[in-house]
Amino acid sequence: MSDAAAIALIGITKRFGAVTALDRVDFGLRAGRIHALLGENGAGKSTLMGVLFGLTSPDAGVLELNGEAVRWQSPRDAIRAGIGMVQQHFSHVPALTVAENVALGGRGRFDVAQAAAEVTRVGTKAGLAVDPMARVADLSVEAQQRLEIVRALAHGARMLILDEPTAVLAPGEATKLLAWLRRFADDGGAAALVTHKVREALAIADDVTVLRAGRRVATGVVNEFTAESLARAMFPEERETRAAPRANPQPGAMIVSAERLAVRGAPGEPGIVDATFALHAGEIVGVAAVERSGHTALLRALAGLQTPGSGRLALPPEVSFIPGDRHRDALVLDFPLYENLALRHLGTRHGLMRWPAVRARTSRILEQFQVRAASGSSRARSLSGGNQQRFVLARELDAHPTLLVAENPTRGLDLAAAATIHARLLDAAHAGAAVVVYSSDVDEVLELAHRILVVHNGVVREVPVTRELVARAMVGAA
C-alpha cells in the first residue's frame, strides 16, 4: 500500500451567492483506505463531494490525481479517472430500467441481456441484489440506493464516494454494505464515506475529517478520535445528542381504530389486508417492515391519503404526515418556504391567503426548529438535504396534530438533529398526540416506540418491543 494520495482536494472554496459552502477545505482519498466525512446538516459535505466528482466547479482550489493537477469539466472526466459516486439525492433516470441506468454513459452497441447480466454479476458480488429489468421509478428508496452503488461499481470505480449511504438501508444491509466497503478498500480501492453516524465512522473508517460551516475543523487517522471528540468537533456548542428517555405511556383516549381494514397498494406495491388495531393518545407506535411489505399503504391510509378498500378506519380530524420522499411528496422545491408552509393548511380552503401571518409563522418555526435557511423567503431547493427535512418536520409538528404519521423522519439528519426530532416526537406524544413512526432503521423504531406493529406480506400485527422478535416478524419467521 502506497502512501501517496490517490486523489487530493486542496484549498477548495465554493460560494453559493452569499453562502460560503466550502472555505479552503483539504480532503484526500488513498488506496486501501476509507475516509469518513462528518459534519452537521449544511456543513458542506455534499458540496465537497460534488467537487470531487466533477458535479460542482470550485471557485478556488485544485484537484490532484496521483500528484498531478487535474480539472473535471464534468463527471465524465471523474468517472474516466476511476471515481464513482452515490449521491445523497439519487441521480438516476426513473423512466429507465436498472440495467439501462447502469449502462448509461457507455458507447457503441447496447445489449440489454449483457447489461442485465453485468448488473446481476456486480450485484451478487457486492451482496446487493437488484432486479436489472425493473423500472427504477417502481423501486423502493432502499432498492434505488443499491442500484446507485451497483452502478458505481459496475463502472469500475476504484475510488468510491458514498454520500450518506446507510441512511436508507435496513440494519442488516447497512452492515453488509459496510463489510463490503471494507473488502473493497482492502482490495486496493479508496472510499469516501459521508455519514452522520459517529459510531459507524469509528467502526469502519481509516481516516476521519469533520466539516463545520464549510471549514475543516478536524482531520486525522481514526484512532486519534473518540465518539465524544468527534461529536464535539461536529457541534460547536453542547447540544443534546440523545433522545429523552422513554417514559411509560399513559394509555390515553383512543384516537385511531382500525377494524378488518384492507387498503390497496400503489400500482406495483402490495397493500394490507384484514388489519385490526388501535392507536391511543400519548403513545408512539413504531412500524417495522422490510421493503414491499405493505407498510406504505398502511402509512398512507393512516395519513388519510388513501381510502380503505374495506373494513373500518376511524381517523381524527387533524393528521400530520411526513412522507419518506420529501422532494416528491412534501415540498414544492421552487416555492419559497413560507408557501411550502401554507401548503400544509391549504386543503379545499376558500377565501384569501393571509401571507403576512404565514411569513411570520414561517420565521418562527425556522428559528424554533433550527432550520438553516437564509430566510422564510428562500426557495426550498436552496436548503441542504437535512434542513429540508427539518423544515418538513417543523411544518407538520407546528400544526399540533392529534395523529402524526412519520415515514423515515430522521433520514439524512445529523445526530443532533435526529435527537431533536426524537425529542419532538416524544413531546408530541406527551402533549396527547398519537404518533406513528416508520423507519427503515429498526434500531430507531426500537429506541422510540412504546408499541410496535410489524407489517409483513400485507399482514399487520403487534409484536413485543424486543429486537429479536421484531427482526423475525419482519421477515415472516413467527
Binding site: 395519513a303 414544492v332 386543503g347 401571507w355
Partner: protein, 317 residues
C-alpha cells in the same frame, strides 16, 4: 432597412392612432388568450387550444348577437360575452374530459380541436350562421345594440381593452392572494406534494384551471366579434390563440407580465402591417423581421437570465 424599422415603429407605437387602433386593438385578444394560457400552464395544463376556444367564443357571441337582440335588448351584449366565454370553456371542456376520463394528452387534443374549430366555423358561415342571401361565407353583422362601444370616432379601440386589463389584474390578484389561486400554483408546481400535504383535489383543480383558460379565450373571441368584426368570418383570428402561447411565456407565466408581453406582440403585428404598407416591405419579409425581433428579445432575456444565475452560483451552470 431603416425605413422598414421606422415603419414598424410608426405603425405600432409611433402615433396615438397606430397605438390605439393598431396595437391596442390587437392586444385585447392577446391579453385574454395569453392570460388564459398562463393560468393553464401554471396549473400544469398544456392548453395550446386557445385558438379553437377563441373561435368557439366568437361563434357563440355571434349567435347571441344575431338572434338574441330582439328578446334581450340592451342585455344582448353582456349575454353575448358570457355566452362566448362559456362556449370557450365548453370547447376546452372537451379536452379536459378527454384528459381526465381517458388520459389523453391535452397538447394533442387541443391542437386537433383547433383544426376542428376552424373547419366548423367554415361550415357555420356557409350553413346555419350564413348571411340571409346565402352568398357570402360570413354571418350578417350583429346589431348595434350587441356591439362593444368604441372610445370615440377617432379610434377603433373599444371597451374590450378595459375588460381585458381588469381581468389581468383580477387573475393576478387571485393567483397571489386567494387560496384557490395558490392551489392552482401548487398543483402546477408539484401535484404530488399538493396532494400529500394539503388534501388538495388535484384533478378538480387542474380541470377548473383548464376550463377557466378556455373561458378567457372564449371571451376573447366574443370581444373580437362584438368589438371589432361585428360578424363571424372564416379567418376571424390571425392566430391569436397561437401567439398567446408566446405571450404567456414571454410574460414568465405571470398574469401582470401578460400586459407588456401582449403589447409587444400586438405592436409587432401592427407594425409588420405598416412595414408592408409604408415601406413596401413584402409580407414575407415583414414576418422575417417580426420573427427576428422575437428571437432577439428571447435571446437577450435568456442571456440575462444566464448571467444572473452564473453570478448567483459563482460559476458556470
Amino acid at each position: 432597412m431603416m425605413s422598414a424599422l421606422y415603419a414598424l415603429w410608426a405603425g405600432s407605437f409611433g402615433s396615438w392612432y397606430a397605438f390605439t387602433s393598431g396595437t391596442l386593438v390587437r392586444a385585447v385578444p392577446l391579453m385574454l388568450t395569453g392570460l388564459g394560457v398562463a393560468v393553464a400552464f401554471r396549473a400544469g395544463v398544456f392548453n395550446i387550444g386557445a385558438e379553437g376556444q377563441l373561435l368557439a367564443g366568437a361563434v357563440a357571441a355571434t349567435a347571441v348577437g344575431l338572434h338574441g337582440s330582439g328578446m334581450l335588448g340592451p342585455a344582448t351584449l353582456p349575454v353575448a360575452l358570457v355566452a362566448g366565454a362559456l362556449a370557450g370553456a365548453a370547447w376546452a371542456g372537451i379536452a379536459a374530459v378527454l384528459r381526465v376520463r381517458f388520459g389523453v394528452l391535452e397538447v394533442i387534443s387541443t391542437l386537433m380541436l383547433n383544426f376542428v374549430a376552424a373547419d366548423l366555423v367554415s361550415y357555420l358561415v356557409r350553413g346555419p350562421l350564413q348571411e340571409p342571401l346565402h352568398i357570402y361565407p360570413q354571418s350578417s353583422s350583429i346589431p348595434a345594440i350587441a356591439r362593444l362601444p368604441q372610445f370615440g370616432p377617432a379610434t377603433r379601440l373599444h371597451w374590450g381593452i378595459v375588460i381585458a386589463v381588469v381581468l389581468v389584474f383580477v387573475v393576478a390578484w387571485e393567483l397571489a392572494h386567494t387560496a384557490a389561486g395558490f392551489r392552482v400554483r401548487a398543483v402546477g408546481a408539484n401535484p404530488s406534494a399538493a396532494w400529500a400535504t394539503g388534501r388538495v383535489p388535484v384533478s378538480r383543480v387542474t380541470t377548473r384551471a383548464f376550463l377557466f383558460s378556455g373561458l378567457l379565450a372564449g371571451l376573447a373571441g366574443a370581444i373580437e366579434v362584438t368589438g371589432v368584426t361585428y360578424a363571424l368570418y372564416e379567418n376571424l383570428s390571425p392566430g391569436y390563440g397561437f401567439t398567446a402561447i408566446a405571450v404567456a411565456i414571454l410574460a414568465g407565466l405571470q398574469p401582470l407580465g401578460v400586459l407588456p408581453s401582449a403589447l409587444v406582440f400586438a405592436g409587432l403585428e401592427s407594425g409588420a402591417t405598416a412595414m408592408q404598407r409604408d415601406a413596401g416591405v413584402p409580407a414575407a419579409w415583414a414576418s422575417v423581421v417580426e420573427a427576428g425581433l422575437i428571437l432577439a428579445v428571447v435571446g437577450v432575456i435568456a442571456l440575462r437570465a444566464r448571467a444572473r444565475s452564473a453570478a448567483a452560483n459563482g460559476g458556470p451552470p
